[in-house]
Assembly symmetry: none
Homo-oligomer: 406 residues x 2
Amino acid sequence: MKAEVISIGTELLLGEITDLNAAYLASQLPLLGIDLHFISTVGDNRQRLIETLNHAWQRSDIIITTGGLGPTEDDITRESIADFFQEPISIDQSLVSQFKELFKHFNMDMPESNIKQAAVIPSCQVIPNPRGTAPGWWVERDRHVIIAMPGPPGEMQQMWSSVVAPRLQREFCESVIYSSTVKTFSLSEAKLGEITRSFLLARNPTVGIYAKPDGIHLRIAAKADSLDEAKQLVKTTTNEIRPLVDDYIWGTDTDTLETIIADLFIKKNMSLATLETDTGGILANTITNVPGSLQFFKCGIVINRSELGERFGIDKNVISRYGPLSQEAVREMATSIRREFDTSVGVGLTGVIENGDATHKLGTILIGIDDGKNTYAFQRTYPGTRLQIKQRAAIAALFELRKIML
Amino acid sequence: MKAEVISIGTELLLGEITDLNAAYLASQLPLLGIDLHFISTVGDNRQRLIETLNHAWQRSDIIITTGGLGPTEDDITRESIADFFQEPISIDQSLVSQFKELFKHFNMDMPESNIKQAAVIPSCQVIPNPRGTAPGWWVERDRHVIIAMPGPPGEMQQMWSSVVAPRLQREFCESVIYSSTVKTFSLSEAKLGEITRSFLLARNPTVGIYAKPDGIHLRIAAKADSLDEAKQLVKTTTNEIRPLVDDYIWGTDTDTLETIIADLFIKKNMSLATLETDTGGILANTITNVPGSLQFFKCGIVINRSELGERFGIDKNVISRYGPLSQEAVREMATSIRREFDTSVGVGLTGVIENGDATHKLGTILIGIDDGKNTYAFQRTYPGTRLQIKQRAAIAALFELRKIML
């Protein structure tokens, strides 16, 4: 079954609101094994909506619209669907009575304009809307269906999960889709593409590659008759891919590097202190985005490179001999901050996020880690803006920290 | 001129990411006086993309695509546009050399697959991408244009504002739209709507209200035959609105609170130290996002609430008498950190970002400021998630700091 979503509303075309409904439906349809082939966004314009319905009817089996079911002049979804099917509109008096009851419940008179929302055509079945006065429409013909739902996300999602999804499953669905994401860092998109080339060309499961701020993600998705079968397909492919990129994988699905680090510290009952210069506290800020992180994150300090030798027990000689942008300096930073705050682990982080030169290129990042047994230092170079380099520095530090803690 | 946006990527049709690019372009096109009539979303599927380009070509003058310009097998935008125009693809060797230089800069070999990104067709003009290896395409024929831009929002927006928007303005636009944004904080969207109601109903200039993480923004946009005329219209309306909300306005257009604060500190040759507990360094991190901030930002510290009395000269008695979540405590934090690091200004920041209770509600934020002459304390409460409360805390601290420094 091929589906198409049509989001209706001029405010979407003016960029005034982001289309959350399309993203929601896009995330729900795969669970029913329905392939979403297109999302179209169109304004409150009858002619253009009818044109869009026409295209959709030619190429898709299931057409889901959201929006344009309100009581005002610019709400034109019902009228457009009626035009499309060339059916006359009438007012369903039982719906009018329901609306009146609803308004009475809130001690209000029903405005005249709400009568418009009781409009029906002969082919439509009304879908109740327990959260508002915009009922949906289910219009089926020749094994095609147009499902019209209201625009407010709360009303739409309620209608979707209580009526539309179960009915689609019953009447239109044969297969299910299951997907899982594997997250890597420190490997380029192109390189990962080369390594997994044969999988990228496969049809079921399909494998997709996505560049994200925290590295490159691989999504493995399978279609099957049952959820168990789809899961098994995903598992088999994942197990084949894993050994090829194992060193670079740090998590799956909803994992973030900071939640993984937080879990490790809490589980091992360890504590952490960080010392940053130019990265300005992004590491501390990222770690403390995790609920409960203040349990193990004892201290995070940001100081100027020029003041490194003055505080927190940092050996001035190391800084002056090797310079603050050196592996020796970040090691010393990690060790000193760990000792100063008496934590299990210390991390030092610095880099060149502005005004690079030949010796210290823009994008150079230096990470030092002291876990109480050993010290480690890493040097990397990343492209991007100031904010991207800062973010990449924090991610890289968490990535290396994870490897050491395991 | 009628425009259409085509967002390309299977991940959009699976609901894995929300389409921020379409919303961005939708917000930008009106500034050029270009009407956006459709947004279409299509997966990484060559046949369906060609079909979508066909529809778009028939009904729109300007077609803007985002996504599908990556180096991997599933990136098919270039190939589909070539098919659509029935033109052969060749490799632009000068682009290949540029890519190789770029990789060399990061001490990496260019993977073979990146060569794909140097593909061109006879009708296309290459749009440089200073932020990545996916150049854009500008393909013009019969007063129609297809503009292909990369999917990562940072790369796309940079390409849009530096090349695509100015060129569209020059070659496709008759009237000019000019807009300016006034940024407020500490005033609700509804309240601002009431105050500016008569302006919101006007047609030229139009006034729009937008809720953003750093407060409520008012966008004033005017359409005219010349830029000067449009600017004058915007200026007149802005001057009428300003006195109504003057206390809440902190900036305009590209201003951010952190750039304003940075400018003030640098101009006044002053220095800053911050001490945070539960907000985990977001204030330090936000300030250091500004280029040159390390000139005046001397130190940023994050420690546990429980360790407040132990370090940096903080008076243990104040903390134990009033508790760490008190105006007295944040004043003491501001004063101590200022004295300890010998800066012109000290800021203390804390709050309840998890596990609120009756006395200390979730979302409570406490800000202390010591400017060397006086101390100030502020208490606010904000709704939202952990990350939203942290962000709002930093914004509120910068907002109050700005007022004191002026």
